[in-house]
Subunit: 249 residues, 2 copies
């Protein structure tokens, strides 16, 4: 019996998110089915966290306990032969017995990709988000600096969450511009529901001068959702990387 | 009554191709429906040619005759407000009365995007094709050179076509490599059914040394489909540009 760690890429456009749900096409559901075909075992695959409908992953991590004597390379090949084209297992490793993709996670990095202005891209409609207004990069960077560190992020969280503790730490938050494409990258010890999408919406609203730096401070200090910006669409969001203790990077 | 020329981008992943078919989601069908909503007119939109299910366009051209007094900018804006996110009208122009997107076309340019080797990209599964074998760029360029010019392309055409004349002229055929991504670009006066996808499959098969330059010559001179390479998948193919007489570019 071994504990496996899987690193997974997927395009979220045609999935009802990560988490298994009856009658829905989900990433967890597809991989559990493929694991059953390969090993004959009915297992639960534990993801580092859910991703919503439409959200992509470049490096989602999941753990699963298997009885099968299959090699890591054999498991990777067999899964990818079965899995549909919008999901791919990039890496299979044998982990410590006490490794759990969710509970052992220390840092997560998300990317958010936005096209600012110009003609909406029909070809990339499921892999980036379109923002029709001109934005000021410097203003967005100033607002981003306010969010780095340990804060109460209640103002950057959608309602409907059962979470009680809203304190999270953001280690890094950068914005790269390449022509009309802006890529936001944020690394933290954990994220509240819709937190990345609200952070990016807030920074863009500061960039177009719909919100001020003071509004961002208010959202942080007063914990009021209405002080922060809009929740951006799922299609621009990528779970890039999940890091665990004693991993260099 | 004016004759309009539309330049259109779309992601083919969720369309049953360009051409209108009962009960199917098609690009022509979606745009004709949007035209009806905007102008109240039941019209036929004539594309420069069909694209198959899964094939994308960066610059498909279509023409349509409308009674409505709407401005070109007004028509562009109104259509894009209605159209779904995987289709976008990039340009609306008033054309000469005798302009017809199909019959007036002089040159078409297609792009084909392939990832060669490495891990299959799940995120880009509908916007490029994966080719698992290593290829030699120089060999592919030598084979490409054989195809440029006026030839009988019967060997590069899928069966099931009703075409009688297989002569076509290829003006340019280039291959750009950027890391693992190879972009094939081909310009010609017209293309037979699946011709671009078979040309790219043939070049890749030469690149991996499954076919020789002599096989390519045989496919051209003997007109035998079995001498040419495989038909590549639809998802890597983009109709990039359609050119008409007296257009500089």
């Amino acid at each position: 019996m071994r504990n496996f760690k899987l690193t997974i890429e997927y395009n979220g456009a045609n999935f009802s998110g990560w988490q298994k749900q009856d009658g829905k096409r989900t990433v967890q559901g597809q991989i559990e089915e493929a694991l059953k075909t390969v090993t004959g075992e009915d297992v639960t695959l534990n993801g580092s966290g859910r991703t919503d409908k439409g959200v992509h992953a470049l490096g989602q991590v999941a753990s699963v306990i298997l009885e099968s004597p299959i090699t890591v390379e054999g498991l990777k090949r067999a899964l990818n032969n079965i899995l549909p084209e919008d999901v791919f297992v990039k890496k299979v490793e044998v982990a410590d017995d006490n490794f759990h993709a969710r509970f052992s996670a220390k840092r997560k990095t998300y990317q958010y990709v936005v096209q600012v202005g110009g003609d909406r891209s029909a070809v990339k409609n499921t892999t980036l988000t379109y923002f029709p207004y001109a934005v000021d990069l410097k203003k967005m960077e100033d607002a981003a600096a306010l969010l780095i560190g340990k804060h109460n992020f209640k103002g950057f969280c959608s309602s409907g969450t059962t979470v009680k503790d809203f304190e999270r730490e953001i280690f890094a938050l950068s914005i790269k511009k390449r022509g009309r494409i802006f890529t936001f990258e944020v690394t933290g010890n954990g994220f509240l529901y819709n937190m990345v999408r609200i952070i990016v919406g807030t920074l863009l609203d500061v960039g177009r001068e719909k919100l001020s730096l003071q509004d961002v401070k208010d959202a942080l200090e007063l914990g009021k959702r209405e002080c922060a910006g809009q929740t951006m669409a799922a299609c621009g969001l990528y779970l890039k990387k999940v890091e665990y203790l004693s991993e260099p990077n």
